[in-house]
Amino acid sequence: MNDDMWLGIAFFAVLFVTQLYFQRNERAPSKWLGGGLIALGCVLWVVIAANSPGIRPVGLIVNWLENRIFIP
């Protein structure tokens, strides 16, 4: 998973640079919002790669709801 983490960071870094410098930007807010979304994606990727088994949002929500509502 560690290899995946570095590969992912490199991938998101390339996307970030592309978004900020190589894309023909028409409007500045989109450029920075886009950069922010890519950075958020990178942070999420690092969290997943570093602590993979501990993070299960869907599992947590379903387990929490299972006793509260009827799930077929």
Binding site: L7, S30, L37, L40, L44, W45, P57, L65
Partner: protein, 354 residues
């Protein structure tokens, strides 16, 4: 303004209906409905038709505007909030499609290739397609969906020698409840047809085009479910991860033409990649409509990148995907039936005050 033909819009709708259900929920529906699951398809279609009818009624009042535009213009605060909720919903669909395609490729085709490499390749294709605009995605989708629908129509003929009618009996052995359970799992996927009025407004989207898209997509699913039942039987089909794939693997023409599943997958996969491209377009287009200072085209790549991360974060494995599909119908009731009903009742043009 981008223009797409009625046929292209119908095929985008069909792709949305069919592609999600094919991989994500077919096995759950068969597991729930067992050998009567084919009866669940029309019930799920009825729910989808209700959603299309309500959205078409709302869209008809605002010619030339998609629903994001209407929401932002008509109710700047509440409308935008609902618009962002829908963007979130479409983004989850995008993540789900991304993840199921990566999982499918990993399980059936490229077992040892790192998942991120597969994700990068899909992302590159989808981003290029989406950045070129909806017209390009619609044209690509038109080519591949047409071929795919033809292939689906050929499947019953090609598997005809292996069909066993006794797999459908005894009918309704456990009553009608399993059928309803099967339709519970199918209807959120058929209801994905609601993306159409958010992509393009009336008169391009109308009741007829939405209904046609829904019927083509659901008929494809019906054919594949019926063939899986008739050939494999509910007992075997419900134990495969991808029953449709296992079904086409059984196709063998004469003694030397086998492994026909690979050309079929080669025709089907571009339809799913196009669906992902349209999903990215939809999310960025929604942002552009709700916040006019933003350029939708520049947000496609960031949305794609975020979708890669979120798809791995939300769905760690296939088990989690199936777990998610158990809960998804509740979200679908809200986004496909309740909110469209409110649109149909209350979303009306402002009256001119003199």
């Amino acid at each position: 303004m981008e223009m797409i033909s009625n046929r292209q819009l119908v095929l985008i709708g069909a792709s949305y209906v069919m592609n999600g259900a094919l991989l994500c929920t077919m096995v759950k529906a068969i597991e729930a409905g067992y050998n009567d699951v084919w009866m669940a398809v029309p019930i799920a279609v009825a729910a989808g038709l209700a959603a299309v009818w309500m959205l078409a009624a709302a869209a008809r009042r605002f010619p030339g505007q998609d629903l994001f535009e209407v929401l932002a213009a008509r109710h700047p605060v509440v409308g935008r909030a609902i618009g962002f909720l829908y963007i979130f919903y479409f983004f989850i669909l995008l993540c789900r499609d991304f993840r199921i395609l990566i999982l499918y490729i990993n399980i059936t085709l490229l077992e040892y290739t790192p998942l991120l490499i597969v994700a990068m390749l899909i992302l590159a294709c989808a981003v290029y397609m989406a950045r070129a605009g909806l017209e390009v995605s619609a044209r690509v989708n038109e080519i591949w969906m047409f071929l795919y629908v033809v292939c689906v129509l050929l499947v019953p003929i090609l598997v005809a020698p292996a069909i066993h009618l006794h797999h459908l009996f005894p009918m309704l052995y456990d009553g009608f409840v399993p059928v309803l359970k099967g339709s519970w799992f199918l209807f959120p996927f058929f209801g994905d047809i609601i993306i159409l009025p958010f992509l393009i407004g009336y008169p391009a989207f109308k009741l007829k085009s939405g209904t046609q898209g829904l019927l083509i997509g659901s008929a494809s699913i019906f054919i594949l479910i019926a063939c899986a039942l008739l050939v494999l039987g509910a007992n075997v089909a419900s134990r495969f991860t991808f029953p449709a794939y296992e079904l086409v693997r059984l196709i063998q023409l004469t003694d030397f033409l086998d492994r026909l599943e690979l050309p079929l997958v080669a025709i089907w996969m571009p339809t799913l990649i196009t669906k992902i491209a349209i999903g990215m377009h939809l999310a960025s287009h929604g942002f552009g409509r709700l916040l006019p200072g933003l350029s939708p085209r520049e947000l496609i790549l960031p949305f794609g990148a975020l979708a890669v991360s979120c798809s791995f974060w939300l769905f760690r494995d296939l088990a989690e995907m199936f777990l998610f599909n158990r809960l998804w119908p509740y979200a679908a009731i809200l986004f496909q039936l309740v909110i469209p009903l409110l649109f149909a009742l209350f979303l009306r043009p402002a009256r001119n005050r003199q």
